[in-house]
Structure formats: C-alpha cells, structure tokens
Subunit: 121 residues, 2 copies
Amino acid sequence: MLVPIDFAAEFERLADFWSPHVVARVNDSYVKVAKLQGEFVWHAHADEDELFLVMRGQLVIQLEDGEVVLGPGQSVVVPRGVRHNPMAAEECWVVLVEPVATKHTGDVVTDRTRSIAEQLA
Amino acid sequence: MLVPIDFAAEFERLADFWSPHVVARVNDSYVKVAKLQGEFVWHAHADEDELFLVMRGQLVIQLEDGEVVLGPGQSVVVPRGVRHNPMAAEECWVVLVEPVATKHTGDVVTDRTRSIAEQLA
C-alpha cells in the first residue's frame, strides 16, 4: 500500500535552514523539501535542471541577468548551466525537484553542502 | 530571464476535466496541471513513476490493494507498473510530475486520452 506524503508535516520536521530533505523519488528525480532563510551561495548544475516551488514565504532567485521573485504556489525551473543564488529575507519553504545526482550547491562546496546521504537521512 | 509559473493561474486557465496541461519541463519530466472530477480509468505505466500532488479538493487513487486519499498539500508517487484509477467526487486540482514519454492513460486508450501535443498546446 502506498504511503502519502504530507508536505506540511515534512516541513514541520525540518530543523535546519538550507538542509534539503528527500521526501520522494519519482523516476530519476528526488522531490525534496527545504527551509530557506538568508542568502545561499552562487552555483550552477552543469547537467541538471532544478525546479523550485514555493509553499510558504517569498523566494528570490538571483540570476546573472536579474532575479525571479516567487511567492506561494509559484515555481520556476532553473535550466542546467545557469548560475543562480537563492535568497529569502524571511523563512521560506520550498519544494525542489531535481535529478538524484544533483548536488544542491552544484559545483561549489561550502559548509552548507549536504551530501545526498544526509538529505536522505 | 526566467519566467515564473503561477500554478493558480494555470489551473484557472484549464477548461476541461482530465485534460492535463504541461506547465514546465525539468530534465526528462514534465510538470503538468489537471482538473479532475469523476472517475478516470484503470491503467498503469509500465516504465514510469507518476507523482500526484493535490493543490485543491480531494483525490482518491484506487489501487488493487486499497486506496490512497489525498488532500491539499498531500502527494503520492504511483510506482511504475502499479495499476491505479484516480477519482474525485468534487472538482480537484492536481500537479503531476512524470516523464515526458508518459501517456496519461498508460496502456489504455479511451476518449479521455490526450496526446502529448494536446497537453503542450
């Protein structure tokens, strides 16, 4: 029997900002939840598109040619190779859809980098 | 510059039940919106998992060993090969994530079957 995912409950369980947690796998992608606050880090994913869906709060995705501002129920796909930097002035809840291979800080390693094992824990 | 997707606006534009509309591509998957009401058709996707996320209303997914009931903010992944039949007593809005190759009625063709070209239109 299949077990539903309750996104609100998954967000409630998240203790740390910028620490994505995998809630489902669909084909070769993971669906993740993350709480964001503050500024992340400029990075790109060479071979992977990344979908952001805001569930609560407001997310600004800085791009080299401007920025995209997303509120609840709004989404954007950052195409592969596009450098971006997520920012949230206040606490923001986002759902991410990205390939299982995606490193959330892309080609950059910082103290915020979480391994896939950590994201699955 | 990237263009955000506003899910509420996408749902408002949908005129017909059971007629998914593609709103984004992320890697090898499409993100679709669909309005559901009534009962669909039993089917399976041999090689593709399918994610359902309910945005409004209540969705019942009948399975051969029971059923899953989803409300707003709840989601389930129907694994490849699992026969299922979506039902909604009242109007229900769902987001779907599934491979670009997925036929929404799976291995079954009915008068509700919509081609990928129709879903992209």
